[in-house]
Each structure stands twice: as C-alpha cells, then as structure tokens.
C-alpha cells in the first residue's frame, strides 16, 4: 500500500494518503524499525492512521533503513516521504 521510488539503490517509501504516522504498534511497545535495520520486502515499517483506520506501511523491497523522516505521531500529507532505504 505504500508508494515508493527508486534511483541507484535508494528507495523512497512515501505516505499512500494523509494520516498520522506511528512508529510502533502501541505506545508501550518498541518501534517496528530503526535506522540501520536490515528489512525484508513486505516487512511492516510503521502504521498510518487516517480517520481512525489503520494501515500498515510496508517495505517495498529487501534493504537497509537509511532514514526515518517524520517523528512518531506526526501528521503526514499524501505522498510525504516516510522512509529512505538502501536496496540490498
């Protein structure tokens, strides 16, 4: 469900619609992913809540997380950059 863009091994994961970004499944739980984590394709990286509906933001490919752009609980606009991965 996440938009992504690729150039020379750099993968951008963007918000599929506007919503509130959550890094972990619940406030008392650890984040789904941290910078430096090696992740698999379709692995859940975060959640996006739009009008009380939650959707998972998944990794579009195998790779390493280079950057997590927004802070936890930030309101994102449609197509905002969320994660930057390096393909691998």
């Amino acid at each position: 469900m996440s938009g992504s863009e690729e150039s020379a091994g750099r993968i951008e994961v963007r918000a599929p619609m506007s919503g509130v970004f959550y890094r972990s499944p619940a406030p008392d739980q650890p984040p789904y992913a941290e910078v430096g984590d090696v992740v698999k394709k379709k692995q859940v990286l975060g959640l996006l809540e739009t009008m009380k509906v939650f959707q998972k933001i998944k990794s579009p490919s195998n790779g390493t997380i280079m950057e997590i752009v927004p802070e936890n609980e930030t309101a994102l606009k449609d197509n905002d950059l969320v994660f930057v991965l390096e393909k691998g």
Binding site: M17, S18, V20, A26, T50, M51, E73
Partner: protein, 454 residues
C-alpha cells in the same frame, strides 16, 4: 434549567447540541482541538475553548482539560454527545464532583451498559429473551469449545468490554473457534484493556431493531418507538429508518414493553437505546443498552416530533416525563443515510482532503445534519462520518424517493463518499420491499478480507 452548557464533542453532533441550546436560550461553550480551529461548530457557539492537541486522547478524551474548561467558563452542565466520553462512567462522576451536571445517564447506568454479561443477566430475570450465550467470561479454548458445541454453530466470540461493533468474531465451526479464540482475547486486551471474552449464539438472518427510551429522575421510563438499523457493514450502521418495515403494531407493543422493562430494571435515566435482534419468525432477543444519544436519533425525532437533545437537557435539569408513547402521534416515515468520507470502490478506505465542492441538498422532506462547508479540510485525526442525510415523508416509498433525489443533489468533491453506494441501495427492489437482513450489504460490497496481509 441550566444557565450555560459545554458541548464536549466535535463534528455534526456538536452542531446538533449547540442548535438545541440556542433554541432553549441557553448559552453554549464549544471545545476544540488544535486540528479543529477551522471547525464550523466554533462559530455557532457563544464561547470557544481549546482543549488540547489534535490527537483525541489529548483533547476530546482529555477529562481534566474538559473539566477545567467547564470550570473556567462557569457552565453548570456538560453534554458529551456520542463517542469520546459519552459513555465513560469516570467522566460522568468527575462532572458530578466538579458540581457540573452530566447530560446523560447516571454513572451506574453507564457502568452497566458497558458490562454486557451483567446487563443480560438482569434483563433475563425480567423475562425478556436474550441471545443464548455463555453465562460468564470464557477463559480457555476447551471451555469455549464445550459451550459452542452445546449451543450449536455458528457462534460469535465477543469482547466483554467491546462496543460499537468492535471486538466481535464469527466462527462457523469448531476449527475456526479454536483458531480465533486466542486472537480474540489478544485483540480484546489491546482494544479495550480487558481480555474477557464470551461466546454468543449467532441468530440466522437477523434484523437489528432498537427502541429509543427516555427516563426521568423519578423512575418513569417511556419508549418512542423503534428504529430499523439492519443495513450495516462490519457491524457499523449505514442506513436507519423509523418505523421498521418488519415491525407490526402488535410486535411494536411487545418490544416496546420489553424495552421499558429493561430500562426500568436498571433504573435508567435520560436518553438511551435498547437494542434487539429479531429473527425471521418475529422472535426478538435483547442485545445491549446504548447509554447515549445515538447517531441515528433524527429518524425518531421526525416521526415523533420530539427533539431528543432538548429532552436530554430538560430531563438532566430535573424535568419530568408526563407523556408516553401512546400520547404522541407517531406519523410518517423517516430514513437516514450516514455519509462517510470513505471510498466504497476501494474497500471503504478513508478519503480525507479539502472540499473543493460542497453543494448540500434541500427541499421538502430533507434534513441535513453536518459540519461541512465549502473549502473545509477534513482532519485525518477523526471519524469519517461527515454528514447525516435524513428524508421524511408520509410513506416509506415517499421517503425513499426523497432520499434518492437528495442523494443525487448532494455535491461533494473531490473527496470520495458513500453516496454512490446509497443510490444503488435506494434502487434495489428488496430494499424497497423492506426485505433484508444484516447480511444485505454483502450484495453491494465485494467480499472483504479481514486483514490485508498480501
């Protein structure tokens, strides 16, 4: 009567309550989150207080902040609307302690409405039929298997602390039960902070029919007829009407009496709803009490002529019920479509954004309860209900014709809404005949997977 009322809600229901206050000549205080600075309800109210950041937990669910606002504004009553703190017993108690009236049921009523198993037990003792279920919470798969086997499949696993259609899992057979049981408990713990679940028998092809009730301080309880709420998706109501095409005068009499008996048994105060399931043979079963004003209250208002929000306020300030169902002239037919900012073509995904076009319907027999305006940006933080379109005519056929006409007039863009789905339903012959059950919507919505793990 109260001298000033704080409305602890947002959206269409905040409008609805502020309008009632205006008509009663009572000044109102609107509260809002930082994301709702451009909300229309602020312009309708006499005073406005910001109660916190966008996230509901820190604003519309923030008891301390709301009580502080009530104190600072010098109100003597709070109307909670629906959702948020409306059925929160601790909030009702906190209002009491702050010397502010809570316009709604007593804290005890709220507690009982949330405790479905105890409510069922009390209701059963009054001779009102209830859906067969486990007598208490079920703690193991083995116990669940035994109970389900005895009552016969299909069964539902329900969270004791659940509500609003959440925390329910249907199991067709033993295998599904074994698989779903642990997941249901985990979900209940995560969703409601209480992992108690119970098993309830599935009623085949049911209709969901509920009765509006009112109770005063002196223990008098009346009902105001039924609402047909069978058209649902995933236990979320979409279309409601009053009266119900499936309820005969004789059944209305019996169900109305049962609803009043239920409310009297729990010493119910203020406005509430007693929900029943009705099977194909006209047998009805108590399901639960909703201790709040409901989203679908307008269909009752149009057919009874009674303003339920004004009645809530009057009863909370000590007013008495000096009339009953037989004294009011129930007349005509009312129908409500809940317009949600969701895309029915894309699995009802939410559709936030800015209203570039907003052209509301009007004319004979049309009521529109909404907080929308041209140029409004729908916040992503809150519910997708954006309008309630209600039609009224002397007959059901007339109400459908007005609804279809009004739905076609309703211009909203570029946001996606449920309007196209309702237009298809209005044209459906079995809907027009009043012939449907809670599975009706599946004919219009392709089968959905519960989880999108692709």
């Amino acid at each position: 009567m109260f001298s000033k009322i704080l409305v602890a809600n947002r959206g269409e229901i905040a409008h609805r309550i502020i309008r009632a206050c205006r008509e009663l000549g009572i000044p109102s205080v609107a509260v809002y989150s930082e994301a709702d600075r451009d909300s229309l309800h602020l312009t309708l109210a006499d005073e406005q207080v910001c109660i916190g950041p966008a996230v509901s937990a820190k604003s519309y669910l923030n008891m301390e902040s709301i009580i502080d606002a009530a104190r600072a504004a010098g109100v003597d009553a709070i109307h909670p609307g629906y959702g948020y703190l409306a059925e929160n017993g601790s909030f009702a108690r906190a209002c009491e302690e702050a010397g502010v009236a809570f316009i709604g049921p007593t804290p005890d009523n709220l507690h009982l409405a949330g405790d479905k198993l105890t409510a069922k037990k009390i209701v059963q003792e009054k001779g009102v039929p209830v859906i067969p279920s486990s007598p208490a919470g079920v703690n193991s798969v083995a116990e669940a298997e035994k109970i389900a086997g005895d009552m016969g499949y299909p069964v539902m696993i329900k969270a004791s602390g659940g509500g609003g259609g959440r925390g329910i899992r249907t199991c067709e057979d033993r295998e599904m039960l074994v698989e779903e049981f642990p997941v249901a408990r985990m979900e209940a713990r995560a969703g409601f902070g209480n992992d108690e679940v119970y098993i309830e028998k599935c009623i085949a092809h049911p209709r969901h029919i509920e009765f509006q009730i009112l109770g005063d301080r002196h223990g008098r309880v009346i009902h105001l007829g039924e609402r047909e709420c069978t058209i649902q998706r995933r236990y979320q109501k979409l279309i409601e009407e009053s009266p119900s095409p499936a309820v005969t005068p004789e059944l209305r009499e019996r169900m109305g009496q049962a609803a009043v008996a239920v409310a009297e048994a729990v010493r119910y105060f203020n406005a509430g709803t007693v929900e029943f399931l009705v099977d194909g043979d006209g047998n009805f079963y108590f399901m639960e009490i909703n201790a709040r004003i409901q989203v679908e209250h307008p269909v009752t208002e149009l057919t009874t002529g009674i303003d339920l929000v004004k009645e809530q306020i009057r009863l909370a300030s000590g007013g008495e019920l000096d009339y009953g169902f037989n004294d009011i002239q129930q007349r005509g037919w009312a129908m409500e479509c809940r317009i949600n900012a969701e895309d029915p073509e894309r699995n009802f995904m939410p559709s936030p954004g800015k209203l570039e076009l907003y052209r509301p319907p009007g004319g004979f027999g049309v009521r529109l309860d909404t907080h929308l305006y041209q140029g409004y940006e729908l916040p992503v933080f809150y519910d997708s209900l954006i309008a309630k379109l209600i039609s009224y005519d002397l007959t059901r056929e007339g109400a459908i014709r007005i609804m279809r006409r009004a739905l076609k007039e309703f211009g909203i863009a570029p946001i996606k809404t449920t309007i196209p789905l309702y237009l298809r339903i209005m044209d459906d012959p079995s809907f027009q005949r009043g012939d449907f059950d809670t599975g009706f919507i599946k004919r219009f919505v392709p089968d959905e997977e519960d989880d999108e793990d692709d």
